[in-house]
């Protein structure tokens, strides 16, 4: 039986992080589809998804062969580095010190760039498909890492984390196909803030577990870590926000 205090943050982290990454990949796949049609766009995206699924199927079971404490420590450190990096950017965006992620602007930029590349070659569909493949592969790498990391430490969480990621994929794809445009209304920057908080909390928790430390309340302390990181990140964003951004907010 999986404790909800462990499963809920894992599923939430996998769902939210995957939603953000799928939105980003969808923007580029849509740019390809707008320029060259859905065939190369979906062929590229499908090939990347197949490669990522193969990676999960190959790497997932291998995690079970590693010493549990070593695995907790390695995954904890990687999550800590990844989460703190993600949270740092989210805090800077929230403070107005880093440009916000704008899917409409990215869509236009990618369309112009891929369009220019396609004009100079006879293999335009191949180039367009490759752009779609790369976008899904690179964004999907982060999803694979997050699913393996939050689900792989305790093997029983791999399936809930995968379900969280697949649900995010389904939700974003349905929304994208209905809207048929870049998903600029998705509160990506807020979601990224939340993901940074969750990944950093997981990183600290698993690093501690890997080092054999005792967390008060065991799994429940994960919720406490999320609250502490959230409050700290909000306070930091407020602290470094320039006066002009403060007045505009």
């Amino acid at each position: 039986m999986i404790a909800w205090t462990t499963a809920a943050p894992a599923v939430a982290a996998a769902f939210t992080a995957s939603a953000v990454e799928v939105v980003e990949a969808f923007t580029i796949v849509l740019a390809v589809a707008t320029l060259r049609g859905w065939r190369p766009a979906l062929a590229g995206a499908g090939a990347a998804l197949a490669l990522l699924a193969a990676a999960v199927l190959a790497l997932g079971p291998l995690l079970g062969l590693v010493d549990p404490h070593l695995l907790e420590l390695a995954i904890g450190i990687l999550l800590l580095l990844f989460g703190l990096g993600w949270l740092r950017k989210a805090v800077l965006r929230a403070a107005g010190l880093m440009a916000l992620h704008d899917e409409t602007a990215i869509f236009e930029r990618e369309k112009a760039q891929i369009g220019a590349e396609c004009e100079t070659t006879t293999a335009a569909d191949w180039i367009a498909g490759l752009a779609s493949f790369k976008a899904v592969l690179l964004e999907g790498l982060e999803v694979v890492f997050i699913v393996l990391a939050v689900g792989g430490v305790k093997g029983e969480l791999l399936i809930p984390a995968s379900i969280g990621a697949l649900a995010a994929f389904a939700v974003v794809m349905v929304a994208g196909l209905l809207i048929r445009g870049p998903l600029s209304k998705v509160p990506e920057n807020t979601l990224k803030f939340g993901v940074g908080v969750m990944l950093s909390s997981f990183g600290v928790y698993w690093t501690g577990e890997g080092l054999g430390l005792a967390w008060p309340g065991d799994d429940l302390s994960l919720v406490g870590l999320v609250v502490i990181f959230l409050l700290a990140a909000l306070a930091l964003a407020r602290l470094v926000r320039p006066p002009a951004a403060e007045a505009a907010a």
Partner: protein
């Protein structure tokens, strides 16, 4: 070939996007391990050290980036 290079670059940037942050976070983990294993600090103290260290690394990295952005 360029796809493989881009995948490797993506993996590198995932964990070492900011070198200072990466090095400081690794130093915090090493210090916690030292406190827990070599100095036999109580587990709760070591856990507190890890959490406070991680928050300090985040604060340092954000403050440094903020200073750069405001220049």
């Amino acid at each position: 070939m360029s796809v493989i290079l881009e995948v490797l670059e993506e993996l590198w940037s995932m964990f070492v996007g900011d070198r200072r942050l990466t090095l400081l976070a690794l130093a915090v983990v090493a210090a916690t391990a030292l406190a827990a294993r070599a100095l036999n600090a109580p587990p709760l103290v070591s856990a507190g050290l890890l959490l406070v260290g991680a928050l300090a690394v985040l604060t340092d990295s954000v403050m440094q980036a903020a200073r750069r952005a405001k220049r």
